[in-house]
């Protein structure tokens, strides 16, 4: 594997991040750098600290020591003149969070608001757009995720997959520069997973920087530029999908992926069938992939942009699933 050379500064940097829940040491020194337009899939057994890591990035969770830098600026804490760590004012954290969109496993839509109200709420109150403008932006976003005709439905009237796509639209409407996904498809019925992955994939194709905690190995293999494997609060190994899925150095990484492969293979047939219908959520090809993206070491994704829906199937075939 040729080394990846990157000339742009990282958009996100974690330096020796530690986190305890009471006596439990959940993150044990995480170091990670993420570059513009990179798609990073965070995988690993459950309880390994993936969600906690993601939540430390937008400071939904405080971290005990280390640094989380977003576009070079530390989130959550600043250092006082005598070198002590002082909490950042809440307003400042709120401002920094605008660069970060987050999508949760359980959607977390507000049940008393319709789809379009869910999307427009923060556009109005945080971006201070007037209501007409906010609605226009929100409708555009709903159309982008393939839900143009669902804007007046309440979450209770939407399927899980549709709710998750509204949640994605809600995050995208804020024009974040980095998107964080915490197991976005884990609570969906298998036949709805494909729609959500399609949206995420087209987002990746547009050059969005994404960190995705997922158990969808097909997606990880086909879409990610970087796979990060976590276990027990540590990053055991990171690298390109090719390396992690076929040449992982760490024995535990190999064991985890093998056990995964067996399970997926059993459920595989039904799964790929549902992934194959394309919902037309992909927008016209955009060319954001020059510059930093060029050095990402994942050429097949860029050249195959027109039919990037098929990358995941390629990913599956590639994994032998």
């Amino acid at each position: 594997m040729a080394p990846i050379t990157v000339h742009t500064p990282p958009v996100l940097q974690l330096r020796d991040v530690h986190k305890h829940f009471g006596d439990v040491h959940v993150l044990k020194g995480i170091n990670l750098e993420i570059f513009p337009s990179q798609v990073v899939c965070l995988i690993g057994p459950s309880g390994s600290g993936k969600s906690t890591l993601l939540r430390c990035i937008n400071f939904l969770e405080e971290y005990d020591c280390g640094e989380v830098l977003i576009f070079g600026e530390r989130i959550g804490y600043s250092t006082s003149y005598d070198g002590r760590r002082v909490p950042m004012p809440k307003e400042h954290i709120r401002v920094m969070r605008r660069d970060l969109g987050m999508v949760f496993q359980h959607f977390n839509l507000w049940p008393h608001m319709t789809a379009v109200e869910n999307v427009s709420e923060a556009v109005r109150s945080v971006k201070k757009k007037n209501i007409t403008e906010a609605l226009r932006i929100s409708r555009d976003m709903l159309a982008k995720v393939g839900l143009a005709d669902m804007e007046n439905r309440y979450p209770a009237q939407l399927s899980g997959g549709q709710q998750q796509r509204v949640a994605i639209a809600r995050a995208l409407a804020m024009e974040p520069r980095i998107m964080l996904f915490d197991e976005p498809t884990s609570s969906l019925d298998p036949e709805l997973v494909g729609d959500v992955l399609d949206v995420m994939q087209s987002l990746a194709g547009e050059g969005m920087t994404m960190i995705v905690v997922t158990h969808e190995m097909g997606f990880a293999a086909g879409v990610a530029d970087l796979i990060v494997f976590m276990e027990d609060g540590r990053i055991l190994e990171q690298g390109t999908p090719d390396r992690i899925f076929h040449n992982a150095e760490n024995r535990r990484v190999r064991a985890f992926l093998q056990s995964y492969g067996r399970r997926e293979k059993n459920a595989g047939k039904a799964h790929t069938a549902t992934n194959s219908h394309n919902k037309g959520v992909c927008n016209e090809p955009t060319d954001h992939h020059s510059g930093a993206a060029g050095s990402r070491g994942c050429p097949q994704k860029r050249t195959a942009h027109q039919n990037h829906q098929h990358a995941r199937h390629a990913g599956r075939r590639y994994l032998g699933l």
């Binding site: 969070r97 977390n108 507000w110 923060a122």
Partner: protein
């Protein structure tokens, strides 16, 4: 066959003599309850807002809730009205009654709001925080509307209880419905009519509150019962 006519004349006489007193009683009950309930809701809300995310304040305000929930309303009113002057606080009967009822109500409404806040899934708030929405806006646009449907039934329950409890104010000489009825009984030795009327009035007020509450609840929870 002259019985109905007798009854009509009898009630007409009764109202001519005591109508004004009864109307005053009804008015006093209504306005004291309206003020005390509104103040109680506001107080309960403030107590809950102040105790969120603040352990010391929560402990202090917890004492308030425990005291006012844990002692009889009558004793609280005695302390305020008869015991008040000993602490340099002499209130008129109406004021003491209203303040006492509001403080008593506040303790219960605080608990209702606490349940309301607890009912909101943490994830819904995290979603709002991750979008950078301000805490005040989250409270106003996400928390309150979402818990509204849930806290309406216990609140209506509480309001009905408070309306009936307001009868206790008669003991500290507030001229509300019960006081007026007992006065008529003592002065005219008519017993059954004022008591029946009193019971009917409380029942009507409670039913009205219950009906309004159900209408409100249906409105507020419409999003839950929608068809796909």
């Amino acid at each position: 066959m002259d019985m109905p006519a007798d009854i009509v004349i009898h009630w007409a006489d009764f109202f001519r003599q005591h109508g004004a007193d009864l109307a005053l009683g009804l008015w006093t009950t209504l306005h004291i309850c309206a003020v005390a309930v509104s103040a109680g809701i506001l107080l309960g809300f403030m107590v809950e807002i102040l105790s969120r995310n603040h352990i010391l304040r929560r402990r202090i305000l917890r004492v308030y809730i425990e005291i006012f929930r844990g002692t009889p309303l009558l004793v609280q009113l005695y302390l305020l009205y008869f015991g008040g002057p000993a602490f340099g606080l002499s209130l008129e009967a109406d004021t003491a009654g209203t303040v006492g009822l509001a403080l008593y109500a506040g303790a219960y409404f605080a608990e209702i709001f606490r349940a309301g806040f607890l009912s909101i899934p943490a994830g819904h708030l995290e979603a709002a925080h991750s979008l950078g929405i301000s805490p005040l806006r989250i409270l106003w646009r996400i928390e309150l509307p979402q818990m509204a449907g849930l806290i309406v039934p216990p609140s209506v329950n509480q309001i009905i209880t408070l309306m009936k409890d307001s009868a206790v104010l008669s003991i500290i000489t507030v001229t509300e419905m019960t006081k007026q009825s007992t006065r008529i009984m003592n002065e005219s030795f008519i017993i059954v009519e004022p008591l029946c009327l009193l019971a009917l009035s409380y029942w009507l007020l409670s039913s009205l509150a219950g009906w309004a509450g159900r209408c409100l609840e249906i409105r507020l929870t419409r999003h839950r019962s929608l068809k796909k």
